[in-house]
Amino acid sequence: MGLDVRPAPGRRRAKVPAPPPSRPTWRGRLARLDMKVSPYLLISPFYAVFLVFGAFPLGYTLWVSLHDWELASGLRQWLGLQNYRELLADEAFWNSVVNTLGMFALSTVPQLLLALLAANALNRRMRGGLLFRMGMIAPLVTSTAAVAIVFTQLYAHDYGMVNWLLGLVGVDPIDWQADRYWSWVAVSSMVDWRWTGYNALIYLAAMQAIPRDLYEAAAIDGASRRRQFWQITVPMLRPTIIFTVIISTIGGLQLFTEPVLYGSGEMNGGPVGQYQTVAMYMFEHSFRGDDYGYGAAVAWVLFLMIIVFSLLNFLFIRRMGGTR
């Protein structure tokens, strides 16, 4: 399309008057109909898919969660809030909540801090910038399941590379499966590995938008690079940091694929559920245990958790920068 074919719209429109309303032509009526109806036609595919497979399921989850709902027996019995009452008294559920929050913290905090450092490094003038960026974003394009398998093997107790490396510096082998906290570290490291580069690029884009005069003025005043980083870069990045924290919260609380494959594809999250997440708990009860009502209740509680934690993190980050 050459831009030269573009006429000045105002003048052109003046030369072509609208057809008189008394004699609407077939063409004119069609064009008017097109203007009126087409926008709705264009957006309708999205709404069709969304209403059937997005909005309806959301409400339906609530409905199912108020029932004793089994597929094999066809049982469908109204329970009211019974599922929720049971859930709140269910130790295995709370165990999964604690696991999820623990792994969420272990995967989000280092991830975002490392991403900040990496972005700060990438923001310098250097050779091979594209290569570094490519390398750091490469984890994002690997399949989550594949990576989980690779990491699980790296963390193997007897012949895993991580324990071998630790052995080189004199550390005894760690049981990355049976020990609850170490298993969290292992699973979280997969998440960290995958998302650090992605967040680094987002921070880098935001850093490049910070006016350079700020740094130059600070340099004249004798502020060190480290000081510039904490006093200029980080405060200026606050909106971006809030964005990444919210995205990580939504993703982190739904953690599923990595811990499932860390447990060889089982839903129990280790023999004593040491790394079972809420999403796994939901899956175990519904799809494996044929208790869809209970599973749906877990799904709703998870949804509420995500909303609450997103809000808390939002307020926390905003507060933190606000004391400047």
């Binding site: 399309m1 573009r6 006429p7 719209p9 052109r12 064009a31 926008p39 264009l42 999205f46 898919v49 497979f53 997005g54 909005a55 309806f56 399921p57 959301l58 339906y60 989850t61 597929l71 490094a121 310098r124 003038r125 290569l131 960026r133 490519m134 390398g135 750091m136 974003i137 490469a138 984890p139 394009v141 690997t142 399949s143 989550t144 399941a145 594949a146 990576v147 398998i149 690779v150 093997q153 012949y159 580069g197 992605y198 880098l204 884009a205 935001a206 350079r212 740094y215 939504i250 739904q254 499932v260 494959l261 594809g265 939901m282 899956f283 799809f287 869809y292 749906a296 998870l302 949804f303």
Partner: protein, 290 residues
């Protein structure tokens, strides 16, 4: 959307030292690079070896020569249905990518450039849908699939994801700035219908954003795990489920598993290497919510 500002060379003179990468910077980046790439490299190393190396100390760090053999065993494995998995994943990811780009750009164009009643309210609902976690809907979605008789069938992992709110929103943002109103006006005056305008004026202008959306949609669909696990059966899997099946075996055959992960990852790696500039650009423009 903020475009990344290029380094300002003119001003660099006096404050050159302020922006020059120090050796420490390079060291940080090299470590980050090694950590990022090593697990992928390790995947290839194990996939090309035999099972004896699993207990080797120190572990081998160079690729071997047994990749072909491992891939053969992979496709012959009776539990994984690996070939079926690959084909299913390829079909699902391709169909969803094409339809997402098409429907999202249609709707994005309408929201950005056409005037109609309820436009802002409808756009708000789209933004709201972006906040809803996928897992919320898995159980009822499964119940719907059973009603339709689609459980276990390939369409169950395709139809619900034909277009996403995120895609619509992304295309709207891009269309708002990339398509001049005058161009649309001109086409209208020339007697083009709305769809014709979309097809010959808007879609060509949206090509860069459509490409990025397509890439990310493909990768996301290819990697999808929970929903296929819920709705498909082991004998008609996606490639990710095939991998899970290998990991689930009583005897953990590492080279087999790693060959599986390598074959499942290679298509994405190829896409990545070919389009890395666009992917990096897409993330940096804030266009991507992966």
């Amino acid at each position: 959307m903020t475009a990344p500002a290029p380094f300002n060379v003119r001003r660099a003179g006096r404050f050159r030292g302020l922006w020059e990468a120090s050796p420490l910077t390079y060291l940080t980046l090299v470590i980050a690079l090694v950590l990022s790439v090593f697990p992928i490299y390790w995947m290839l190393v194990v996939a090309t070896r035999t099972n004896e190396i699993v207990s080797d100390v120190p572990p081998p760090v160079t690729p071997g020569t047994h990749f072909g053999e491992n891939v053969e065993r992979l496709f012959a494995n009776p539990d994984a249905f690996f070939a079926t998995g690959l084909v299913n994943s390829a079909i699902a990811a391709s169909v969803i990518t094409i339809s997402t780009v098409f429907f999202a750009s249609l709707a994005g164009f309408a929201f950005a450039k056409l005037r109609f009643r309820g436009r802002n309210a409808l756009l708000l609902t789209i933004i709201a849908t972006m906040m809803i976690p996928v897992q919320m809907g898995v159980i009822p979605l499964y119940l719907i699939m059973i009603k339709l008789g689609w459980n276990g069938e390939l369409q169950s992992i395709i139809v619900p994801f034909l277009v996403t709110g995120f895609g619509v929103f992304m295309m709207r943002q891009y269309a708002a700035s990339a398509v001049p109103d005058e161009l649309i006006e001109a086409a209208r005056v020339d007697g083009c219908s709305t769809f014709r305008i979309y097809w010959s004026v808007v879609l060509p202008a949206l090509r860069p954003a459509a490409g990025v959306l397509g890439l990310f949609t493909f990768m996301q669909t290819w990697n999808e795990f929970m929903w296929p696990l819920a709705v498909l059966e082991p004998d008609n899997p996606t490639v990710q489920l095939s991998i899970k099946q290998l990991a689930n075996a009583h005897f953990q055959d590492y080279t087999l598993m790693f060959a599986g992960t390598a074959v499942a990852t290679l298509p994405l790696l190829v896409v990545f290497i070919v389009f890395s500039r666009q992917i990096i650009g897409g993330i940096m423009e804030g266009a991507i919510k992966a």
